[in-house]
């Protein structure tokens, strides 16, 4: 009995390994078929896919297909919204199934570049949630499909195509290779029950740090939030204009930000552990703030305070504030992989996500700043956006947008992170 079972298991594994072994002898044959959940019918159709086709044709082609949406999986609210709000809309309107896959952008990049290296013509990623340096890198390396956003009816209907953030992503021309998804902006957060002050500029921030010595810090760069925080401080000290066309040269950048580096070194003296060390992630900084170890935190999500209060992780007295000169803001986008198996479906899905309806639900449920142009909305749509209850401790949308500074060109960001590590930490 056992004997038979064991020998059959052995037979199976050996067979399995033999198959693997045999196919490993012909590794140069490009994979012709990759298993994925898209029905074969849709595969056949995608071969006739023509991005310039009439949008109705795309809708017809996308019918019954699956669109796979890759993006960071650590935001439970967004996961819920995509699965419970966006997916049913796509199913009902277009008979498209949305498959949301959680994956960090660096793994997405690794996957795409590996697939390119192996010559895989049809991968498994359709839509990618992306922006900034990652967009720059994927577009430069020919990993994205496009241009496509100019072919979407809702681009014309809802998006201001002359908006800087629709034309440029971290200073890099988008050229219709990605569609806006949501807007983010750096905000500062503290608890009015603990500290009265809301520093309006870097000088006041320094005074604040002095007063609450050892209770202010920020995430170590290259953490996304920490990096944006430092850029905001740099803008406050040396202005943002000069960076917009700066050469990505370390010496040039260093000279430009020298006054800010001096400020950061001065600030170090009063930071948590004298700025000798910094928490590795923005999550850790936020946890320290929640526990009362810090008197201030920061977020790239402008409405995170409202969500935090609703979830019970922040006190009701926690509030959002900005610098008078403003804080950096960016848009995040949706792109389509060059080897996407379902490009027609992706275009239809993206078109729907930039509609007033989906953008409004995103604003309601996630409180992500919408990307649709307010002027282009009908009065009913305007009313829906106006009605959104933003929650406690946050700033109204127009105040945020009036103090919104453009992000630096993508290729300057790693240079600043490098300089910070050399010139600021422990100095």
């Amino acid at each position: 009995m056992n004997f038979k079972r064991l020998s059959s298991i052995l037979a199976i594994i050996i067979a399995l390994l033999l198959i693997v072994g045999c196919s490993s002898q012909t590794p140069e044959t490009p994979a012709t078929e990759v298993p994925n959940e898209t029905p074969s019918e849709a595969n056949a159709e995608s071969q006739e896919f023509d991005p310039n086709a009439d949008f109705d044709t795309l809708v017809e082609q996308a019918k019954g297909s699956t669109v796979t949406f890759y993006g960071w999986g650590g935001d439970e609210d967004r996961n819920r919204w995509l699965n419970e709000t966006v997916a049913p809309i796509l199913k009902e309107k277009y008979d498209i199934s949305l498959d949301v896959v959680g994956m960090n952008i660096d793994e997405i990049l690794a996957k795409l570049s590996g697939e390119k290296q192996a010559g895989l013509e049809e991968g498994s990623i359709d839509i990618i949630w992306i922006n900034g340096e990652n967009f720059y890198s994927t577009k430069e390396n020919d990993l994205l499909f496009g241009p496509f956003t100019d072919k979407l009816p809702n681009t014309k209907k809802y998006i201001d195509v002359n908006d800087k953030e629709v034309l440029y992503d971290f200073g890099y021309p988008i050229e219709n290779y990605e569609a806006p998804y949501g807007k983010a902006q750096m905000v500062f957060i503290n608890d009015s029950g603990v500290t009265d002050e809301t520093p309006k500029n870097t000088d006041e921030l320094l005074e604040y740090a002095k007063k609450y010595e050892g209770k202010v810090t920020y995430p170590a760069l290259p953490d996304f939030t920490g990096s944006a925080f430092v850029r905001t401080l740099i803008y406050d000290i040396v202005g943002y204009e000069q960076f917009m066309d700066m050469q990505p040269d370390k010496a040039v950048v260093k000279e430009a930000i020298e006054p800010a580096l001096e400020y950061l070194r001065e600030l170090n003296k009063y930071l948590w552990n004298q700025g000798k060390t910094f928490p590795a992630t923005s999550g850790e900084v936020d946890n320290m703030f929640q526990d009362g170890e810090l008197v201030m935190t920061m977020s790239y999500e402008p409405y995170s305070v409202a969500k935090g209060i609703e979830k019970g992780i922040y006190n009701n007295s926690v509030r959002t504030f900005l610098f008078d000169k403003g804080t950096v803001g960016n848009t995040n986008y949706m792109a389509i992989a060059k080897n996407a198996p379902n490009k027609a479906g992706s275009m239809v899905a993206i078109n729907e996500i930039i509609s007033a309806e989906v953008q409004a639900s995103q604003f309601e449920e996630l409180r992500t700043l919408p990307v649709v142009s307010y002027d282009k909305l009908s009065s009913e749509e305007k009313a829906r956006f106006d009605r959104v209850d933003l929650g406690q401790g946050v700033l109204p949308q127009d105040e945020l947008l009036s103090k919104r500074l453009p992000e630096m060109p993508a290729n300057l960001v790693p240079i600043i992170e490098e300089i910070w590590a050399e010139e600021v930490v422990g100095k």
């Binding site: 033999l18 072994g21 990049l109 290729n411």
Partner: protein, 290 residues
């Protein structure tokens, strides 16, 4: 028995081994700047040279070596005591063993969560001290995490590795104790003597193998040093991971070269291990005895 038998037995490992080496070579090639898909087509040592020239590299190397050597030696000693405790108190199965396994099955990221909750200046131990009046503020509690002394990382590794060493060597020590240890006791040797002269030496292959595994693992893993380490200098794997996350794909060879250097150090450690083992000769190597 049949001459073919060993070749049948090793067939699966050979096939998997070929795959492994093939994958490894494919990865290492990238560290020499060869990634045609990204228009990088020249073999070059430049990436290695650039990293070796960077003064922070030596600092990172020191941090990593310190963490891995200290934590592995301590884990080996404490782990061996734990194995002994398990064997001689008759806890080689059942609930106690399940508790030991708990530590092994918990991923490093969760261990980081534990460390922060317990050891940080805001952690439970600091809070306990505060409530007992030993300290008057968070800053008074010694900094165990995020500092150059890497104490928090070492403690985190110990928490996982002491049980690992025990678990890894338990089966062998138990079977030796059952067959040879108890026999020698029956022949009149004292317990202590039979342990130090028979059971422990014969268990050494498993213990020293466990040591090598945790040594190379703690040298190459980035989770704990990333979450609990100092901002500067960073452990080598953390540096490699950050290079890997660099969004510019054409930066990839740097990450791979740094991983290549981690590989070189790990292989050197392994080489030293086998040299030492060879020098010690037959002593303690149970395989050669049978």
């Amino acid at each position: 028995m049949n001459k073919k038998t060993p070749y049948i037995l090793i067939m699966p490992i050979v096939l998997l081994g070929v795959l492994f080496i093939y994958g490894l070579v494919n990865g290492i090639i990238q560290s020499f700047g060869y990634i045609p898909a990204l228009d990088l087509g020249n073999f070059t040592l430049d990436y290695y040279i650039e990293i070796l020239k960077d003064p922070t590299f030596i600092d990172s190397l020191k941090v990593s070596l310190k963490i891995s050597i200290i934590s592995s030696i301590l884990a080996m000693v404490l782990g061996t005591i734990l194995t002994t405790a398990l064997v001689y108190t008759g806890h080689t199965e059942g609930k106690t063993l399940q508790i030991i396994k708990l530590a092994i099955l918990i991923p490093h990221t969760i261990v980081a969560l534990f460390s922060i909750s317990l050891l940080s200046q805001n952690g439970l131990i600091a809070r306990l001290f505060y409530n007992l009046g030993f300290i008057s503020a968070q800053g008074d509690f010694p900094l165990l995490l995020y500092t150059e002394n890497s104490l928090g990382i070492i403690l985190g590794y110990l928490w996982k590795e002491v049980p690992f060493v025990a678990y890894f060597s338990l089966a062998l020590m138990n079977s030796i104790n059952k067959t040879l240890g108890e026999a020698s006791e029956n022949l009149g040797a004292s317990r202590l003597k039979s342990f130090f002269y028979i059971t422990l030496p014969l268990s050494m292959p498993a213990i020293s193998k466990a040591f090598l595994i945790i040594l190379t693992f703690s040298f190459g893993a980035y989770d704990l040093p990333f979450l609990l380490g100092a901002t500067m200098p960073k452990a080598l794997p953390v540096q490699a991971h950050l290079e890997y996350m660099h969004p510019d794909l054409r930066y990839r060879p740097y990450a791979m070269a740094m991983n290549g250097l981690i590989l070189a150090v790990s292989w050197t450690m392994t080489g030293i291990y086998y040299l030492v083992k060879k020098k010690k000769g037959i002593k303690g190597d149970v395989h050669e005895r049978y």
